[in-house]
Amino acid sequence: MDSRPNPAPSPAAAATPRQRRRKSWAESLLGVRELPPGIGLVAVVLFFSLQTGNFWSPQTMTAISTVASTITIVSVGVTMLMISGEFDLSVGQNFAFTPIVWAILFVGNDVNEWLALVLALACSAGVGLVNGLVTTVFGIPSFITTLGMFFVLEGINNLLISGHQLIMFDPRASMEFLGGRIATTPFYMPLIWMFAIAAAFAFVLARLRYGNWTLATGGKVGPAKAMGVPTRRVKRRNFVLCALFAGLAGCMQFAYIKGVTQGQGQNYELLAITAAVLGGTSLFGGSGTIWGSVIGAFLLATIQIGLVLIGVPGSFYVTFIGVMLVIVVIANVRLGRFGGSQT
């Protein structure tokens, strides 16, 4: 139907992308976003191995892995949410709220322990749903929505256990399932859950349509919407996911230490964001990796426990983390790493 010759292709078109596709292994290695935090983790581990005699002891490994596991699980949800372009500052309070609800139901009110767990997790997901709806329907920054939720949950936690501590002396099956010891190892169940959840969401992000939509929503909402991505729904789902994992990790913590106070999860909202950022997740949405957040969480845990081992007061570690966070972000901005690829 058309006799007109095609316009002459520009000279650059002569070389097809296919021929130039192969990258050298060094190039591909540099493209791995988990590499810089990975190198950081190796350096920190080496440092503490050399500085202390008992870094590789079972006790130290137990301590690091359990601290890292719960932060990671919270951070996986936070990472998904951050990639979709939003924050959740209420995860730390949710981390206490959910196990408090769980414990009150099955310890105080004789609800079946599994049913109680499901109900408690439904509550934490409900918190995420409220965060998501308020943010997307009213179009306000999630920073504000979830800061509000932070205070709401803090008040509710106060009301529920008013400064007391809930302790379980005889752990139940559900608690063993979530936080019990893994037979013949110094490790506890949260470590397994953490790897399973991280692997699942690394897969979701890279291999499922939902992952592509999450990346696009946080990357640039206009084009994503124009291409038919339901951006608000994607954000809401990530809010729910994020809150659910915060609650689940809180229940694991409860099951592991067999008790819960209001103070559980203090600072976790910020630690989870820190782990994600150390792992290379952008603060502006659109890029990040789950394994990066896992490495970030292990970095935090290793420093926390390692500083105690070398005799630095335990509470000082947050100061150290604060300085490191700022340096890493400056380095990332300088190197233009934010906005890197997700293939």
Partner: protein, 265 residues
């Protein structure tokens, strides 16, 4: 190297147009902005819709793209009466709007951008996973003709692409997914000469592919190099329809100048 031309291009206007506006009028509240406009775009035709600010270009574009139904008149797509409740409905039948700043998500790789919202999936146990291999090769094959120099594979992010390349990718994407009508809103605004030529090449390819193209611009000289017909809009009315073969560039420019003068007085 010559730029795109349209001199030896024959359009069959005896067939059905891709899209047709029949006596369209539109008002925002009591403020009437479009007055009985008739406008058709045929397959393989680039129609330049030109007019000053306030002439009604963006209102017509919104009607084309399904953002708002007109207050009066009929829309016909491929010979059938249509009425779009949303841009999604317009997209579903093959009307694709390409906006300069809404074309591309910077952080995503080329293939993720290319298939965004239309991902190819394959079964993987109970799940449907992205068929990355297929999307990579299809995206690379589709953009091969664009001669992108800044990225080397579909795995690279598009953040390094220029404004013109982004639009070329978006136009190519629309063609790939079987669009029938392409809507372009000042696609060469703020582009360099070379960039502009690349975008015009992409428009040319879309036309050669049989798509109808509505090219909206306030500047006649932007649409001149590619348009087969130029529709001059003034205060919500079509004042002239010019066939590209029948007028010279000088005449066209005189017309625009005359129109501008009329508006000033």
């Amino acid at each position: 190297m010559s730029g795109p031309t349209n001199s030896d291009h024959v359009i069959d206007r005896s067939s059905e147009p891709v899209f047709e506006l029949r006596s369209i009028s539109h008002a925002y509240g009591r403020n009437k902005v479009i007055f009985g406009v008739n406008l058709s775009v045929w397959p393989g035709e680039v129609v330049g819709l030109v007019g000053d600010n306030g002439a009604g270009k963006s209102t017509l574009l919104k009607i084309f793209a399904g953002y708002q139904p007109p207050t009066e008149g009929a829309l016909r797509f491929m010979g059938k009466d249509v009425r779009f409740a949303s841009p999604a409905e317009a997209r579903a039948v093959g009307i694709e709007a390409v906006y300069q700043d809404l074309a591309i998500v910077d952080q995503l790789s080329l293939w993720r951008n290319f298939f965004l919202g239309k991902e190819i999936v394959r079964p993987f146990g109970p799940l449907k996973v992205l068929d990355r291999q297929r999307m990579r090769s299809e995206a690379e094959a589709a953009v091969a003709a664009l001669g992108l120099t800044r990225i080397r594979s579909a795995d690279e992010t598009v953040s390094t692409l220029s404004g013109g390349e982004r639009q070329s990718v978006a136009i190519t994407r629309a063609m790939h997914f079987g669009a029938k009508l392409l809507l372009l809103d000042e696609p060469t605004a703020a582009l360099s000469v070379r960039e502009t030529r690349n975008v015009l090449h992409s428009i040319d390819r879309a036309r050669a592919h049989g798509l109808g193209v509505l090219y909206v611009d306030h500047n006649m000289s932007h649409v001149l190099p590619v348009a087969d017909r130029i529709v001059l809009l003034e205060l919500g009315r079509v004042v002239r329809v010019l066939d590209r073969d029948e007028v010279s560039i000088e005449e066209l420019q005189d017309l625009v100048a005359a129109s501008a003068k009329r508006l000033e007085s």
